[in-house]
Symmetry: D2
Subunit: 403 residues, 4 copies
């Protein structure tokens, strides 16, 4: 149960991006009672008996390789996407300034050439090897824990998507991996995995809210298991895929034969710009696309498209067209248009995940937090993609383990 | 378990309408293996161990007050709405001709003036009182059972919607009700309830697939309980409401604040024409509208509109706009357009319900079949409207009671 | 041609409502070069040679019976609907404060009971008769003209919609009408017509941007003709109807047979609240609905629905479903969803109309300005509803009369 | 003017495809008065005084390299897409059988490797050179003219789209081109241009209803001008682009600033399968995409996507999202979903074009028929893409030249 005076660190990788700066603003607004529980899963009555850490127990920190500050990130969203109430932003400004002091420079090790072209790295340190980067990043986190007297730190990756890595070339053991990381030249694993390894080295819970590789390099994952660190991922289920994860089971329950499911996503934020790179886009689409074939079947013609439309800023518009056959072979259709702000949908889930990970940290239980599947597009070690089964998993786990 | 040679009667009230004639065509096509399991809930593996009656165990009969035959009903749908494959229709024709011989004249007792204006009654008998109608209708069903050597008969109301009755004036006991029904003049209960009483008198399972009153006259329901007859209703959950019953829980699970939910339904079939009558429309909308306030909350601005658009024939198009608020008060939206054939969506569920009711008949268990809630917009005695909870109810019941 | 130092009054009826306050903000922002020409028809090159009055020639004034000021109106839109840039609002504040001094109290004469229930009248004068109201309102305008040394004043009705008047009871001559107006008790004509008469009495151009009656009381219109006052209306074509006015001609040109055209409008502003009154709604729908039957034909099943959805604030969402038949009788569909801010769409057209009316004032030409048809849902004396024919009318007129 | 007994040949390239077989069925149905004028532009009153050839003046013929017959093409559409009334198909069958006798084998010369992979060529002749193909195809047409005693023959390309050719390598003179065509090996021009040259050699009017190159090889076009043959193209404006060609001008007329226009097209016919080839898709998208930048401006973010979704058969569903900015910089949106049958939309326009081309043949006027711009996505020598300006061009031409 929650100890009196417990303090929790929330360490964000990609801290000043859309999601990161919304998390910071939201946390500040919650502490000041300037916003309500809307969008926060764990603020519902079902979670009342779990002794979840209160919002004012959290201290924010993170890594960021761009020069943009948290406040600049918030202003960017306010100005371009019209998201936030000016009064709330003004009232939270002092807290954001304080949080900014906990942001440490990111690394460019392992970065893909495409990402390298589009981002600025004014705040990145040029680490002399990937191993050196891991050490530096891990000590940033442990320093944060020590300085702030934190009981637990949860590390969450909310950086831009990266292209899929080439799995076969990864060393199989953690020691082999470390040797390989200490060589000069291109890192054998992508940036997200360097951060993941740093999190495990620092003994922190690790959550991957993006489709990037993160902890899924087998040697890193095995090492996390060994160190008894809880982890989960990947790719937050915030919008179109969330809707798909209830509609697909609906068709299945009625035994309707979905012939085709076409999705067109347009978005204008940094993630959209990153997704203009074909390899990154493929990685993202793979996690979005899995659901239909899992819940329905492999014969469905499934297309997912993502296009970068700068005028939308942080907004994402998704159109899905579902062509299905009913009794006696009659063809029918359902189409939907989702219009949401990605950062605003993601941020409360990041806060929920941090809270729920703390429960495992308190119990000292490591390994994959499969009961958090409902938060992810591609939940680790979980083959059920329908939201309701995943919800039951969450309810069952929290009831059994924590009440 | 299913006995060898078991024979089941499926008695449809409003037999030659869109739903009724599609049920007849579908049953014939299933028996001839001209169509597959698509759209039939009970053809899924989960229902495999229940010894459900096979399709060729069913014999079709029913009441109809219009002159139109089953074949004419099927042709009507084929020609105006382009629904069926000509080859299937031709191959099923002999069976439809045979089924037609089991259709008996309906009654006009208790009919609302609006319905009276729009329908033709060339096949109706002018019963001299509502009580006489009940007797005649019940003996039609018992004759059918005897003639066809049926083990069980399931009566399902698939007639057009009727306006809501005035509940207060109903006699409280079945004997009081029968006295009132035997008087000349306007029936104290609507037509659907006259049919429901006849079904109970005949000792049959009764299911109300429409928003009409049916068995919900308290004296009739109490009498059904007393006679240990299984029953359920009302208003089949076929299209827009089905989608709402998965989307509303999704918003709830994510703690998103739905501010407004607006639905516009347009349809061109007989039901649409009937719904042009304001009182009937209100009755229909009431069952459609309940879901949002139950799953979400009472503060949602909820509008449901239904308009009659003859060019759509049996097609129904529904547009729903959901306006919701996320974290930090940001407003977002989801909209969907459903385009489906009402008859084709309803017919397989009617067949499923008949099968599942037989299980209760075999066990001799009467009363409300609450485990069938997932089939209805306004499930009797069940306050949960989300499809997934309802599905769990069905799975739990069938596993516990019948496996 | 534009005289040096020419000054123009723009007098708004309902000055502090959504449209009125957006006009005030926009005019201020244009004068300060804080906003560009987007949305202003007359800022296009085709209008370059007409010597239209520049934006800084305009002085704003108007009538308003609610207590809300222009600034409050702007803040209301900013806060509830998230419309404007805070910097622009702050920079324009002094000008809005100055404009506010030209706002005079409105009248409640002729107001419908429904409107009476929903509005506050803290700024209304209780005129002792409709005739007294006309005199007071007219002298407000002539005072404004004198005080501000204005060359021309254009009066534009941007108040909330009112229910349709009962035409038959109107006196046929202006003297008969004035006699009737001078009696105590309920006004024989609606409020909008009292304002219209005041405008004509003051010798001003009059434009009705709403579906209200305004100048369309025959005696008033005849009097305007006699006084050689230019006028036009009614009901600004801003959103859904604008789209219809290009799509309907498209179907016509391809000889496609539109069978049904269903429109569902939801909106959350004051106009939406007013439209909750069935009579007002009917009046509004009548002007929206005319287009389809005029451009296509009378056999189209046409439904237009309007629902009040407060969460949308100043936003209007309209869904239209068009069901049409092509070659060989094949049925197809087009559906669209329009999502726009009513005030922001209307305001620039109000400014355009003021400019274009000045051209007629300068020439001393009175009567209906039929060439302005493209701005209206129900253009006076013009039967063509397609936008392109209307555009050609505007181009032809401005080229012939003013270049 | 129309001569008594005038006979017209309509020669279709790709005769048994979706469009071709619908043209054949439609022409038969029109002659038998089994279908009405819906979808036929030239059946409108404005075209009444032009002495257009009546439908029974037309004789159908064409080239086809697949084995599928006209009747098979019609059945394919009926069965897979549910398009036609069985009675009409049965009644037209004898005429389709007769038409089939006028179908000659196509050529595979100049065919792209991608097209080569997906089509069957059971009805293709293996011409020994492109020049030999031109000669054979031209003599097929002249034979048809002679045998059927035709006054004029109009050749219309309705075959599948082909990838864009490499223009620079084309010989500049017709004699140079012919030399190049007579060499063995790959044809220097694509198949569509081989057919176009054959049409010109046969002295026929030529119309390109596809985005393929056709007559746009400069040497072929110059030769057509020299021979005084009328021609026009390219790519019929049937669906999504038709809608765009009225909506884009609407935004322009209101001076609204379209920031982004995204279109997602899904379709299931042969054309869709062909468009799975990236090069072909690029060629198609280029003609679809031109409109937005021409009517609006070059700064619009414009994406057009096309995906092959077999379950849609001949249906095409297009979703367009238009993001625009209004007055004071406020962002708004319009989205539409078009659901139409490509073949059924195209076929009547093919018939219209044949009729209108005959007018030019009668007058002996060759060259580009620019007045037919309203029928094409990418009208030859015409830079106006808005439907209404194009309509005025058609009205002006037909009034001036033919009444």
């Amino acid at each position: 149960m929650a100890r009196r005076g417990e303090k929790i660190g929330l360490w964000l990788i990609g801290a000043s991006g859309g999601v990161g700066s919304t998390v910071a603003l939201g946390l500040a607004a919650l502490c000041k009672k300037l916003t309500g529980p809307t969008g926060l899963v764990t603020e519902q009555p079902q979670f009342g008996g779990l002794n979840l850490p209160p919002w004012n127990a959290f201290v924010l920190g993170g890594h960021e390789f761009r020069k943009e500050s948290l406040i600049a990130g918030v202003h960017h969203l306010s100005k371009r996407a019209g998201l936030f109430d000016d009064k709330v932003v003004r009232a939270c400004r002092p807290r954001l300034v304080a949080d900014q002091r906990n942001i440490r420079p990111g690394t460019t090790c392992g970065l893909d050439p495409a990402a390298r072209r589009m981002a600025d790295f004014d705040n990145a340190v040029q680490d002399r090897s990937a191993a050196a980067a891991v050490d530096r990043l891990a000590s940033d986190i442990t320093d944060f824990r020590r300085r702030k007297h934190l009981d637990h730190v949860v590390v969450i990756n909310v950086a831009s998507s990266e292209p899929g890595g080439r799995k076969k070339q990864w060393p199989k053991t953690i020691s082999g991996l470390r040797r390989s990381l200490s060589r000069r030249g291109a890192s054998p694993v992508p940036t997200s995995s360097i951060y993941a390894l740093a999190a495990v080295d620092a003994g922190c819970a690790y959550i991957n809210f993006t489709p990037s590789t993160g902890i899924l390099v087998p040697a890193i994952r095995a090492y996390a298991d060994e160190r008894n660190v809880p982890y989960m991922g990947r790719d937050g289920k915030t919008g179109e895929t969330l809707v798909k994860s209830v509609l697909a089971p609906m068709f299945a329950m009625r035994n309707l034969n979905v012939m085709s499911w076409v999705g067109q996503n347009i978005l204008g934020n940094r993630d959209g710009a990153t997704l203009n790179d074909p390899a990154t886009r493929r990685a993202k689409i793979a996690t979005k696309d899995r659901l239909v074939s899992q819940v329905l079947d492999d014969t469905v013609t499934s297309h997912v498209r993502i296009d970068y439309v700068p005028s939308l800023a942080d907004w994402k518009v998704a159109w899905d067209y579902i062509h299905f056959r009913g009794f006696l072979g009659v063809k029918m259709s359902l189409q939907f248009t989702w219009c949401g702000s990605d950062s605003v949908l993601a941020a409360p889930l990041v806060l929920d995940l941090a809270r729920l990970a703390v429960l495992e940290c308190r119990r000292g239980v490591g390994g994959p937090m499969k009961h958090l599947a409902c938060f992810f597009k591609d939940p680790l070690d979980v083959s059920r993609h329908d939201l309701f089964s995943q919800w039951v998993m969450l309810m069952t786990h929290t009831t059994a383990a924590h009440s």
